[in-house]
């Protein structure tokens, strides 16, 4: 008989999915905990992903409070993140340490998933969302995190997760999908918001096109020629809840989605969402956030340029209007106006702010990218040395 394989459980009927965990998963959780040198006194579900098959529990043990996690991704992918977390901890970053099993392993693989136990960091509290100081703390912490992720190389058992080469593809995708918004607005032209949406798609499609052109002209291709460990890892889900203030500074949690990338993408997302929350682009804030990050993980001029280009993508428009693909009628009838109001309000200040931010570029030192991979460079050095020895 094949062992039970954990699958998403969002199709289970007549249960409260917020608190429900399938009994088989509960059973496996107990078996997993038995692999650790600890006596578990209580276990409480903190959050779950029924649609993916993942969960986090807070466990009280004789060794203190810990967290038990069922990682929803395919095991080989999860292992990439687990080993990354261990690497980052060893670099001295403020990331919850993994507790080893009795057999000194980093994780337990059971039910077709990877499970981990980590320290429960306490107390953790959110950085202030309403003053720049809080945003700066968050950005500084992010910089520390990125810096300490550099040099990570996954073990053979893990599959490499990387978005490093995918930037142009992503930009194209944004542009293409804005084209879809246009076609849907045409197909649903009987709804009043369609007209308004249709009057905006050209503008945002052009923004996506322009950003792609700029990316192609930038140092991007030379930068990504450096190997992935040079750049380190992007968190992908970083914000006020996955970066929190705790003992000694800012702690970064929930690392299971980490991937190789130009990690500056995390900072871009944080800036975009912060400006969105404020309802306008504020140069002082954006600058403060970038500088705070720069203090922890210095940005070079080329990276700064990539950050600016990425900010100029119509991220806000794209993210919110994308909902329309799934429920065009509901979206166009009930949500479109509010969404488009928000986007247009932020547009009013975005471009002026970006223009100012672009002028900061010269304050950053060039990274002098040659377009050679780090590996090729090392090789060259070695052969030069050899020649000299001869």
């Amino acid at each position: 008989m094949k062992a039970y394989q954990i699958e998403p459980w969002n199709n289970v009927k007549r249960v409260n999915l917020d608190t429900y965990i399938p009994p088989e998963v509960e059973k496996i959780a107990k078996k997993v905990m038995a692999h650790y040198n600890m006596k578990v006194r209580s276990r409480k579900l903190i959050t779950s992903k029924p649609d993916k098959g993942g969960a986090i529990w807070k466990i009280k043990t004789n060794k203190g409070t810990r967290s038990l996690k069922l990682l929803h991704r395919a095991p080989a992918r999860s292992k990439f993140s687990v080993w990354a977390q261990d690497y980052i901890v060893k670099q001295g970053a403020k990331v919850p340490a993994l507790v080893r099993t009795k057999n000194k392993q980093l994780y337990v693989e059971m039910g077709g998933k990877v499970w981990i136990v980590t320290d429960w960091i306490q107390p953790l509290k959110q950085a202030s969302k309403i003053n720049l100081k809080g945003a700066k703390q968050l950005c500084y912490g992010l910089g520390e995190f990125h810096k300490s992720s550099k040099g990570y190389i996954p073990p053979e058992e893990a599959v490499k997760a990387s978005r490093l080469m995918r930037w142009p593809k992503y930009y194209e995708k944004v542009r293409t999908k804005i084209g879809w918004f246009r076609e849907l607005a045409k197909a649903y032209k009987h709804l009043p918001a369609s007209k308004r949406l249709l009057s905006m798609t050209d503008r945002f499609e052009k923004q996506a096109s322009d950003a792609l052109t700029q990316l192609e002209k930038s140092s991007y291709s030379k930068m990504v020629a450096k190997d992935e460990p040079h750049w380190g890892l992007v968190h992908q889900d970083y914000g006020w809840s996955n970066g929190q203030l705790g003992p000694g500074g800012l702690w970064v949690i929930d690392l299971d989605g980490v991937s190789y990338d130009l990690p500056i993408r995390d900072l871009r997302k944080l800036i975009t969402s912060t400006m969105e929350d404020m309802g306008r682009w504020d140069v002082k804030w954006a600058r403060g956030m970038i500088n705070a990050y720069h203090k922890a993980n210095p940005i070079d001029r080329e990276t700064y340029e990539i950050l600016m280009i990425d900010l100029s993508l119509p991220n806000e428009f794209y993210k919110h209007v994308k909902e329309m693909l799934y429920h065009p009628e509901t979206f166009l009838k009930r949500e479109a106006d509010a969404v488009l109001n928000g986007v247009m309000k932020s547009e009013k200040t975005k471009w002026k702010a970006l223009k100012k931010l672009w002028t900061d570029k010269k304050k950053f030192k060039s990274g002098n990218y040659t377009g050679e991979s780090s590996r090729a460079k090392r090789k060259k050095k070695r052969s030069k040395k050899k020649r000299r020895q001869r």
Binding site: K2, A74, E156, V159, K160, E183, K322, L325, Y326
Partner: protein, 380 residues
């Protein structure tokens, strides 16, 4: 000869979960196994044993899913059996070549290429060069695939050979040849309320590259000229996975507002696909990308359907002897309106094209011919 055929890490052989490469291997293996001792190495599957012998073919299955995982299983197996095989034939995974070479330093390695795996985003150009050096022959499923690899890596043309894929000529058959086919056509048409409508058939993954959205957008305009039509879209998004992606949602949202009935069947298992070719009147491949050469063309031809394809990648290579129509600018729905209109208004043209396609398929696109050509590469 003793031959090891190595499939990909994505889907098992036989193609119980679909897959072009898996279908290809299973199409030629029975024929080749009459004269040769075959072992097929592929991925494990809950529904299949890890080792079995069926007829003359030995199946060995190792863990797959990710190439990095599969690679290890493949290397281990090859190392253990390095002197057992005269030829190791790897399918569409250039990245398996070097590990296989390391495990079997003296083996003759043949590589079959079904798509763009040699493109720089998928394969480091340095590695690509090494791979091309290690293999004896690169078999490609269209001239386009071979040309593209040669352009990218300046490889020697003599190392390449195009062997077009095939189709099961006993399963994909002309409608008029069997009462069963006509019965099924009727049944499907009743089930999906198609009535007497002319059915425009699309078979393929619902992904942006395949252009189903353009076809849906063409329908409103086409209806003005041909009021009695329907578009049938056969296929899930990604093999047997029916989850809704942004793109699927988009196509569905377009379809909902269409004045022409758009039928989406969802995933249809491989062994049932041929039935839809019986239910259709015109087949369309709407691909926007540089497609290597889609198998559906052979299936349409074998089923005696006239078809429309796009001037992308290897697709136009199958258009000959008036068996179909090539659309030059597939990103424009109007191009499909015109091409479809030409076929829809002319019954005798449709018939002629269908017949030409079937006779071509019988001559060129049966598995027998594919197997014979593959064998000649092994024997070279």
């Amino acid at each position: 000869m003793k031959v090891l055929m190595i499939s990909t890490e994505k889907l098992p052989v036989p193609p119980v979960r679909g897959g072009a490469i898996q279908t290809y291997i299973s199409g030629i293996a029975p024929l080749l196994s009459r004269k040769h001792d075959l072992t097929i190495l592929g991925i494990s599957d809950p529904g299949l044993p890890d080792q079995e012998k069926k007829g003359n073919i030995r199946y060995v299955r190792v863990e797959g899913g990710y190439l990095d995982v599969y690679k290890k299983g493949v290397a281990k197996y090859v190392k253990k059996n390095k002197n057992k095989f005269d030829v190791i034939h790897i399918f569409n995974r250039p990245r398996l070549v070097l590990p296989v070479r390391k495990a079997a330093p003296r083996a003759r390695i043949i590589l079959s290429m079904h798509n763009d795996m040699f493109d720089p985003e998928k394969l480091d150009p340095d590695e690509a060069k090494k791979i091309l050096k290690e293999v004896e022959k690169v078999v490609t499923i269209s001239n386009y695939v071979g040309r593209r690899i040669r352009e990218l890596h300046h490889a020697k043309p003599s190392k390449f050979r195009t062997i077009y894929s095939g189709v099961d000529l006993q399963r994909f058959t002309p409608l008029h040849q069997s009462a069963k086919a006509r019965r099924i056509r009727k049944k499907l048409r009743r089930q999906f309320k198609l009535g007497s409508r002319k059915v425009i058939l699309f078979v393929g993954r619902i992904s942006p590259k395949k252009g189903a959205d353009i076809l849906v957008r063409a329908m409103n305009e086409l209806k003005k000229r041909h009021p009695n039509i329907a578009l049938v879209i056969v296929g899930g998004r990604w093999f047997s996975d029916d989850k809704v992606s942004d793109y699927t949602a988009y196509v569905r949202a377009l379809a909902k507002r269409s004045s022409v009935p758009i039928i989406t069947t969802g995933y249809v298992p491989g062994e049932k696909i041929h039935e839809w070719f019986w239910a259709g009147d015109v087949f369309v491949c709407a691909s926007l990308w540089q497609e290597p050469l889609a198998r559906v063309h052979f299936e349409a031809m074998a089923s005696e359907l006239p078809f429309i394809t796009t001037k992308r990648g290897g697709n136009p290579e199958v258009v000959e002897r008036n068996n179909g129509v090539v659309v030059d600018r597939p990103e424009d729905p109007k191009a499909f309106v015109n091409a479809l209109s030409k076929l829809l208004k002319d019954k005798s043209l449709r018939k002629r094209m269908g017949r030409n396609g079937r006779s071509l398929a019988e001559k060129k696109y049966g598995w027998k011919r594919v197997a014979k050509e593959v064998e000649s590469v092994w024997k070279a």
